[in-house]
């Protein structure tokens, strides 16, 4: 069941490649705007790079969250999924995993390139990748709660941002914090531990909350 949902969502995403690509381009464009707005000084750019990349990742994940359940909700698939005997936890988990693979993984792949633009060292780039790998699942998981709550509402895309962005703050702090620590020559390990703790917590609780929210939204 889990594998089936992930596979189905991946096929659907492949057929609508433009959606995933537009999220990726949004990420690249937002990050590239900062040097234009702030100025080309290498030192300054290097010090703001972790924050900029992470904030752009948060905003980019907003774009894909609106699609997480909306299409299935409109064509009635979601209702059928809610009626399956499988635990809803797994259904949600599969959909979130597929969303992560299609929307967040490309960001992680392109992030080193953006890091190079900001003059980050190889060591720091590696830390950036690790924080993104640990942190972006939390974005998808917490975001899925917001996506489920706002399903079918008039201004759902704006509403998701208002609901979810404040909850992303710990991920932003530890994600950007680890990269920053590595830039100034400290060990990023403590940040990474805390980030992993957030990931574990989100993995356990978020699909459960999303499942409850889905039942509320579709009834």
């Amino acid at each position: 069941m889990l594998r089936w949902i992930v596979w189905r969502d991946l096929i659907l995403a492949w057929r609508r490649r433009a959606d995933a690509l537009s999220t990726l381009f949004f990420f690249v464009i937002v990050v590239s705007l900062f040097p234009l707005g702030i100025g080309p000084e290498t030192e300054l750019l290097r010090s703001i790079a972790p924050g900029v990349v992470w904030v752009a990742a948060l905003l980019a994940s907003m774009l894909s969250l609106g699609r997480l359940f909306a299409n299935d909700y409109q064509d009635g698939t979601l209702e059928q999924l809610l009626m399956t005997p499988q635990p809803l936890y797994l259904v949600v988990f599969g959909k979130v995993a597929a969303q992560w693979l299609t929307s967040e993984l490309p960001l992680i792949c392109i992030a080193p390139l953006l890091g190079v633009q900001f003059g980050l060292s190889n060591q720091t780039l590696r830390v950036l990748i690790v924080t993104l790998i640990l942190g972006t699942p939390v974005l998808s998981l917490i975001g899925s709660v917001g996506a489920a709550l706002t399903l079918g509402l008039r201004s759902s895309s704006v509403l998701i941002s208002i609901l979810v962005l404040p909850l992303y703050i710990p991920v932003l702090i530890f994600g950007a914090g680890a990269v920053e620590a590595s830039i100034i020559g400290l060990s990023p390990v403590s940040h990474l531990y805390l980030l992993s703790a957030l990931t574990v917590l989100a993995l356990i609780f978020a699909p459960w909350a999303t499942a409850a929210a889905l039942r509320i939204s579709v009834e």
Partner: protein
């Protein structure tokens, strides 16, 4: 007497109407007394002069802003778990007052910060987490107001409030840690270990006044929500007017 009777909004409506004056009147009196003690009896602070007097509204507002969020989540959770309409109505009613107090504590904090710290805003851990708390309130209120079906609005709000309550300590500690990472010395709000007796009294009276005010206003608002949502409550309105 069967207290469960009052879990029904239509039964609670007249009861709330009778309770409100018992909270609103003492609130008004205590606001008067507290402000008088705060402004005229409490001595000026030897470091901050008269500027510290904004504390008498700032501290109760910050306190209630935090507490009401937890209370709101408890009510929303009860409303969701036991399908109790009145508890959900209380949660929506509390959210507005809580957001108001959180906003008030940020504004008065800025007014206090300008003369004492020389700046309107510092990215201090407490201030940042209060700001985030205001964002959480705004999320709850905007989610509820954009859902037309009141039952769905209640339950969706409950999920959001409970997720928020789990996150509040995580956010608080991460912000505190972020803050200590960025700046070495945090500014202590009260430098002196003890505060003068009349200062303490003024603050406690103001705190009590804010509490009573919150209860009265929440009950008034919950009565409005009952009238909006319960058709058959209208006869109670007619009966009590």
């Amino acid at each position: 007497m069967n207290l469960y009777k009052y879990a029904s909004p239509t039964n609670f409506y007249p009861l709330a109407g009778k309770i409100i004056p018992w909270f609103a009147t003492p609130a008004a009196i205590l606001f008067g007394v507290g402000l008088f003690v705060g402004f005229f009896i409490a001595p000026p602070d030897f470091q901050q002069g008269d500027a510290y007097r904004i504390m008498f509204i700032h501290v109760p507002a910050a306190w209630l802003g935090m507490f009401l969020y937890i209370l709101m989540a408890i009510y929303a959770g009860i409303g969701w778990a036991f399908n109790a309409r009145l508890a959900s109505m209380m949660a929506s009613s509390i959210s507005i007052t809580g957001a108001m107090f959180t906003f008030l504590s940020l504004v008065t904090g800025a007014f206090w910060g300008k003369p004492t710290w020389g700046t309107w805003w510092v990215w201090d851990a407490r201030m940042t987490s209060t700001l985030i708390l205001l964002f959480l309130y705004i999320g709850f209120i905007s989610l509820q107001s954009s859902i037309d079906d009141p039952r769905r609005a209640d339950r969706a709000g409950a999920v959001l409030a409970l997720v928020g309550v789990i996150n509040v300590p995580i956010i608080y500690f991460s912000v505190q840690w972020w803050n200590t990472l960025h700046q070495g010395a945090t500014i202590r709000i009260l430098q002196k270990p003890t505060i003068h007796g009349s200062m303490l009294w003024a603050m406690l009276i103001m705190l009590a006044a804010c509490w009573l005010y919150s209860v009265a206003v929440v009950l008034i608002r919950v009565r409005c929500i009952i009238v909006e949502r319960e058709q058959n409550a209208n006869r109670f309105v007619e009966a009590t007017v």
